[in-house]
């Protein structure tokens, strides 16, 4: 109990239980699913949709306040942990900016659009980038299930490369997996941690 690795384990356990509600999975999964359908149905507007997905962050924080805090309690993690989350958010915003620029370029110049989005290797590049991002989230947040999502994404991308199906298949599959597993975790979380009476929550 007294050595540093045990203390790190305590912090990790606290952090994992805080994210054991599946809300992060549901938010990312639903955001990706909406994005996939917009790219599919309204391809000319897809880069606007990515920008709009930043709104999912407020959905996430709202759900944490509404569901997690009354059941698991309120916690502020260490500055090291908070910096990690900030870095992920910065990386996410940068990626959105890059995708937006690519989207704008593809619309302005159809030749660039064909080069970026219709090359034979596009699906593999998308698969590697997507898998890397999901694995990065898993590493930075110490949430190991994101490694599984990463493997699913890359696996479906490779299958789609060899058996040409729709280009969006990896995105659709991983978002559905995240959404379903997130809902399962949320159900488990709500069962495990019933809402406490207000006086008890405040310790009054």
């Amino acid at each position: 109990m007294t050595n540093n690795s045990k203390l790190q384990e305590i912090e990790r356990k606290a952090f994992i239980s805080y994210h054991g509600d599946g809300i992060l999975d549901i938010c990312i999964g639903s955001a990706l699913l909406v994005m996939a359908f917009f790219i599919w149905l309204l391809p000319e507007f897809w880069f606007f949709v990515i920008g709009g997905l930043i709104g999912w962050i407020s959905l996430y924080t709202g759900a944490k306040k509404l569901i997690t805090a009354p059941r698991l309690g309120y916690v502020e993690f260490s500055s090291v942990r908070r910096r990690r989350i900030q870095n992920i958010m910065i990386a996410g915003v940068l990626m959105l900016v890059v995708f937006n620029i690519l989207g704008v370029l593809a619309i302005i110049n159809p030749i660039i659009g064909i080069f970026i989005f219709e090359s034979a290797f596009t699906i593999l590049i998308v698969g590697i980038i997507g898998a890397f991002v999901l694995a990065l989230i898993g590493t930075m947040l110490n949430i190991r299930r994101f490694y599984s999502y990463s493997v699913v994404f890359l696996g479906v991308a490779v299958v789609t490369f060899f058996i040409p199906l729709i280009l969006l298949l990896p995105l659709i599959v991983v978002s559905i997996v995240m959404l379903v597993y997130g809902l399962f975790l949320l159900y488990q979380f709500v069962q495990m941690y019933p809402k406490e009476a207000r006086g008890e929550v405040t310790g009054a």
Binding site: N3, I10, S17, L72, G73, S78, E200, T202
Partner: protein
């Protein structure tokens, strides 16, 4: 807060901080050491203590000056947050060193 034993000297029972040495308080202190602050409910969930136990141990730690209990409104909801004081952090570090000293070189 007890003094740290000099190098090479095995700590005697009086060297140990009895406030921290109690298992329930040790687990509370360990959580508060790695987290910035938490409310009663979060500590209850993480430690597995009952409300009564948790409350009495927090009171003892507060009396010793190791934790601070802060009443705060977050998003218009009242929370009672607990955080380690500077003295509490130092006392925990000292306790950590003393225990390490006791068990150093022993096989598991």
């Amino acid at each position: 807060m007890p003094d740290e034993p000099s190098d090479g000297k095995f700590p005697i029972i009086d060297d140990f901080d009895r406030v921290i040495h109690e298992p329930a308080r040790l687990i509370i202190m360990s959580h508060l050491y790695v987290l910035d602050r938490a409310d009663f409910l979060f500590l209850k969930r993480q430690t597995g203590l009952t409300w009564g136990n948790l409350s009495s141990h927090i009171t003892k730690l507060e009396t010793a000056g190791y934790v601070e209990v802060i009443k705060k409104f977050i998003d218009r909801k009242p929370y009672t947050l607990i955080e380690l004081t500077k003295e509490g952090r130092e006392a925990f570090r000292l306790y950590q060193r003393q225990m390490k000293h006791v068990f150093e070189g022993l096989d598991e």
